[in-house]
Symmetry: C2
Subunit: 488 residues, 2 copies
Amino acid sequence: LESRAVALPVSLSSPSKLSIERQLVDQLRRLIKHGALFPGARLPSSRMLADDLGCSRTPIVAAYDRLVAEGYLLSRPRSGLQVATRMAASPPARKVSRGEVIGLSQRGRELADTQQRLGLRSAQMPGHPSIEGFPFELWGNLCTRAWRRPTSALVWGDDPAGYLPLRQAIAAHLRMVRGMVCDAEQIIVTSGTRHGADLAARVLLDPGDQVAIEDPGWPAWQVLASHGATLRPVPMDDEGISVEGLARLAPSARMVAVTPSHQFPTGVAMSHRRRLDLLDRARKQQMWILENDFDSEFQYSGEPLSALRSLDEDRVIYLGTFSRSMFPSLRLGYMVLPRHLVETFLQARSTIDGFPPMMLQPVMAAFLEEGHLARHVRNMRRLYKARHASLVAALRRHFGDRIEIVPTCGGLTLTVMLRQGCDVALARDARACGLSAYPFSATAVETTPRPGLVLGLAELPEDHVDAMVARFAALSAPASAVGMSLPA
Amino acid sequence: LESRAVALPVSLSSPSKLSIERQLVDQLRRLIKHGALFPGARLPSSRMLADDLGCSRTPIVAAYDRLVAEGYLLSRPRSGLQVATRMAASPPARKVSRGEVIGLSQRGRELADTQQRLGLRSAQMPGHPSIEGFPFELWGNLCTRAWRRPTSALVWGDDPAGYLPLRQAIAAHLRMVRGMVCDAEQIIVTSGTRHGADLAARVLLDPGDQVAIEDPGWPAWQVLASHGATLRPVPMDDEGISVEGLARLAPSARMVAVTPSHQFPTGVAMSHRRRLDLLDRARKQQMWILENDFDSEFQYSGEPLSALRSLDEDRVIYLGTFSRSMFPSLRLGYMVLPRHLVETFLQARSTIDGFPPMMLQPVMAAFLEEGHLARHVRNMRRLYKARHASLVAALRRHFGDRIEIVPTCGGLTLTVMLRQGCDVALARDARACGLSAYPFSATAVETTPRPGLVLGLAELPEDHVDAMVARFAALSAPASAVGMSLPA
């Protein structure tokens, strides 16, 4: 990784009125804006740059963090820091105010603000799968098999629901791995969970409608607000979203959006009793349930819980994705719809974007039909379970009772809560030690943010996890001091 | 094709109170609803079924047409009639009215109604490319090359603008084939023109905003209305959209959506003078221009015209697609944005669906970089030009002055206008003779529909086009009688 980093043409003036951090930020910003640092260029590690410049790592880490926050740099798993593509060489705010140019719409401004406020880059969210052991050789061969002499169904396929054999394979897969009974007619192929949520919002919500969401919760539910719905945060407890809170805080919500298998960010699996209560409430309140079932494939312990969709086929819109069981850039998901909604969703989809791209669909269909996904998920479950256990053990060993590990049955992330301190700074320390970490408080909407960390576990190298956590524990030891390094 | 058709378990009672057409419609509807005819099943040709049943083709064609109109059957180029996927075995209206089920949103109902009213299945729209001669062998090999040992950029790539090498290749391609200067930073990869229009509407339009569209025009602009914009149809003349009409009918429009290279459905290429007038008007009115530049690759005669985008980089949102130069199921498009809008569009896209699926992007990038698309387009242009000429010649020969051929410089469709008659019935006759045809009147929004046909030319077999047109001319000869067979 280090060998692919660019040489940074920066230098420090000393003595200077400006801090080292400030000097670095200014110089790097300028280099990126002017295109001297090209998009995608990899930055040297803070250690490497500290050696070059003859200074400590602290101001370098701080400068890098600021540039990430400003969007100049991206922090990517496995490839370190890179220059962000879209900032380079085109300072966007510069050219806007030519008197003649019309403004954005109100909605457009809100969309952009949302994203900026959240500051969410999916790369910074933990929960990426590991791609070790993904059978790319086989995947490549399946691609060729489908496309070298494609059937006319592949070349002309324009079904707004997606390629039928893929939908059949998804139905069979859900029956097998999730115990869910549905048929291919109820499935729509999407380009991911967010795309499915977007479609559901367009068909089921009007501007001003209320949508209840879990608080803290999955930030990407913001897509529902992009159609003018009002999001109503409802507190979580250790069985899932509070149904009493839902009745009190969002009594007229037309939809509730949940992640019941492995709630993001708490890791809580919604209890069976809570599932029944939620469905009961949804019936009383005439409310749709949007079920994002991610990580249900990766359960390590406990009784498997039925999907909400399996408990009520008429009221639940089920969202699934292959991005976490395959690899992140795949962007292939699906929704399972109540039978009476299928026709309307297909008509809406026809108007909006026609039909899903075919390229990927026969390849995924074959991968499912031939049992490769089932096998891969089995292997990954074993691997993740071991990594989960190593991470828990290392955290217990090196942090003791400074942290509280939230009990969970599975998933690609582990959540730990802190007694005190600033979790933004702590997440930064964790990342500096090679861990994938996200501050828990950043996922809170209205609840008072407790400090905590959501840690990615899929990519942890078992041989090094103990050393990494030890380093992290040492770095963050003066827990009260950590709070002071919070960027202004 | 015929060999893959299913055997239809239908029979005729004779004598019967019901017409043959009615008997067939009833029996086929039942078979499809109950799943005895499975989704995707191919129907025998009307000739084949007429032989089986010992009746004439006329009632069979009529029954098939009705079932297509009702959505039970799909008519697909090169594969004939098929059972529609989503009707089979799941009568959608049946289960809706369980008192407890909540209704759709107002917006959802409108979306579905729009699609139903238009009755548009992309398969029925002419303008599909020919896939003869597409180098699938090579395409399959490029897939394998990209995916058997993918780089980490492919596996992790999450840029909301799309894969950088693809955007660079698109920029180079546009420079080469379209003389357009833009850079990769201004390009966003989409899943087609409609997807790009959808994104533009979300960023640039608020509910209630006016959007001017060409009348008659491209039906898929309805996607703009799905966000609450009001579409204002503006008449076309032989130089393009009427700018005088625009000023009069949509004086406060915030956007105008046009297809200037080869207007759908008239085939008119917007004159250079008109382009300048439109841009002038857009500046005065502070209006965005949405330019759908389809078919610009396939110009057979005349001077090439600059894209609107090349004449004004700050006001035009340019939409391009590869679905017409490659193959229809590809669903890969792009937009070229004014520099000052890029950042906002990327933020919006991050919220809405994250980033485009990676699978296809490196393959397309290689296909462009290695010059395969340029070569394929060159070959296809030659082929289409010849087919265009044969179709024009055959129409002149067999229809004489019963029709008027709209002069055009290129494109995958040819538009002919009729002196009188019902173009819906005529399009049906044309399809029965193997031609791809769409009634001109179905594309009119508010203008009085003139009868006419939009004919697909890309797939016409040159050796048979004369015979096909001759048959069509004979079938439609009693032009006034045709009007009577219009379905109720």
